[in-house]
């Protein structure tokens, strides 16, 4: 990913460190101290730009890497320690905010039914209805820029979980992910279909091209997936997260497609959304019963984290939606200020 622009002293320090060679113990210690200070000072880590960008960059070392960063930084013990400092506060913030109000029997059917119930409840403003009926051309582009932070690496954070699962749950996750990755056809990968949509509306489809435009809440939404995906102890949460995503996708994507068609865009723009209507109607069934349900049947202790991951996915996405819709309601951009990416 291209080097983002720093948003404060913590991310500036990290970017400076990673352009050199590891180890750099003194500088990393300095970074750790700065992170501790920033964490102590922040009122809400979810919307703290400097810390969310820092966490995003630390995770990115495990995905596409950072342009100009030495690859040896990925497993540098000092940077892992810094990552864990931010992760601990971030996870605590999520666990405090998320409400899980039911504990179904640890059976496949009961877990699937509870997840369908949770994801079927209306939670806050609807982005999809607005996009379908009202969003103007600039808002559609802004919507894609916001989504691009995750969708250009769609499915990757959940893939970390595959070797941590066994049996029915593992087979289910691989079945879903194989479809996400195009079933052997690179041009049908969901990330590739999203890139095609971006090109169709004249946006740059390079991964990370709009990282500087993404507000903290958008980075936090993707960081949450990496947090759940990269920590084995949170395998229940990443499974719950994916299940919630699959269960809240078919109908919104039909409405997104309608919004782009309303503005005269063709299949090259709407194809990504139309694909998800059909794909996720399949995936939600596999995810509910075989992935989430199968995991809980194999290890009932993970039930709480499966529900937590699902509820966290819904809650953080409702925060992100609110951030965007509030900005639009006030007639301004939801992207980072002083940048003109949507123009």
């Amino acid at each position: 990913m291209k080097q983002p622009t720093a948003r404060g002293n913590v991310s500036a320090l990290l970017l400076e460190i990673t352009t050199g060679e590891p180890p750099a113990a003194d500088k990393v210690k300095h970074l750790e101290d700065a992170v501790r200070t920033a964490l102590a000072r922040t009122a809400d880590v979810v919307v703290e730009d400097d810390l969310q960008l820092t966490l995003f960059c630390l995770y990115e070392l495990h995905y596409s890497g950072l342009d100009g960063a030495a690859e040896g930084w990925e497993w540098d013990p000092g940077l892992i320690r810094v990552r864990q400092l931010i992760e601990a506060v971030f996870e605590e913030r999520l666990r405090t905010a998320v409400v899980v109000d039911a504990a179904p029997e640890p059976t496949s059917d009961a877990v699937a039914a509870e997840l369908f119930r949770m994801t079927g409840e209306d939670t806050g403003p609807s982005m999809s209805r607005f996009v379908a009926r009202e969003a103007n051309a600039e808002q559609l582009r802004e919507f894609l820029i916001q989504k691009s932070i995750y969708q250009l690496k769609e499915a990757d954070p959940h893939t970390w979980a595959i070797p941590r699962l066994t049996g029915r749950a593992k087979a289910a996750l691989v079945e879903i992910q194989a479809d996400e990755y195009g079933g052997g056809h690179p041009d049908r990968m969901h990330s590739a279909l999203f890139a095609r949509t971006m090109r169709a509306v004249g946006l740059d489809d390079t991964y990370g091209a709009y990282i500087d435009a993404a507000p903290a809440i958008t980075l936090a939404s993707t960081n949450m997936m990496s947090l759940f995906g990269l920590n084995r102890r949170l395998r229940g949460a990443i499974v719950g997260h994916l299940t919630a995503y699959e269960m809240t996708s078919s109908q919104p994507n039909r409405l997104y497609a309608r919004g782009f068609a309303r503005h005269g865009y063709g299949e090259d723009a709407t194809g990504y959304f139309e694909e998800h209507v059909e794909a996720d109607a399949v995936h939600e069934q596999i995810a509910g019963r075989d992935l989430a349900g199968g995991l809980v049947e194999a290890d009932p202790r993970l039930l709480g984290d499966v529900l937590f991951g699902a509820a966290a996915a819904l809650l953080v996405d409702s925060w992100m939606t609110r951030h965007i819709m509030d900005a639009w309601a006030e007639g301004r951009s939801s992207l980072q200020p002083d940048r003109s990416f949507a123009a």
Binding site: F116, G120, E175, R254, V277, E278, A281, V282, Q285
Partner: protein, 83 residues
């Protein structure tokens, strides 16, 4: 038939596992896995872009014969409500 093949099951004329399986999802579609073809009433193969498909069972999908999740919007139930 190779020596490693499992014995035919009772009532099953073929050997080995079935070529396809269908899961009747509670309050949802029919999930079809394996080797199969979805055809029109005239026998023409319908376009299919994924290995496992969900077939509409509630009648409300706009992508029929495939599921589009509409069963959740119309409150489709596969079992009668408890008395």
């Amino acid at each position: 038939m190779s020596p490693a093949d499992p014995a035919p099951r009772a009532g099953d004329a073929r050997s080995g596992p079935p070529a396809a399986s269908i899961v009747a999802c509670p309050d949802g579609p029919l999930l079809v896995r394996g080797e199969f073809e979805v055809v029109t009433p005239d026998g023409e193969a319908l376009p299919r872009t994924r290995r496992t498909v969900a077939l509409c069972r509630c009648g409300a999908s706009v992508l029929k014969p495939y599921c589009d999740g509409s069963h959740k919007l119309i409150g489709f139930k596969t079992e009668p409500p408890a008395p």
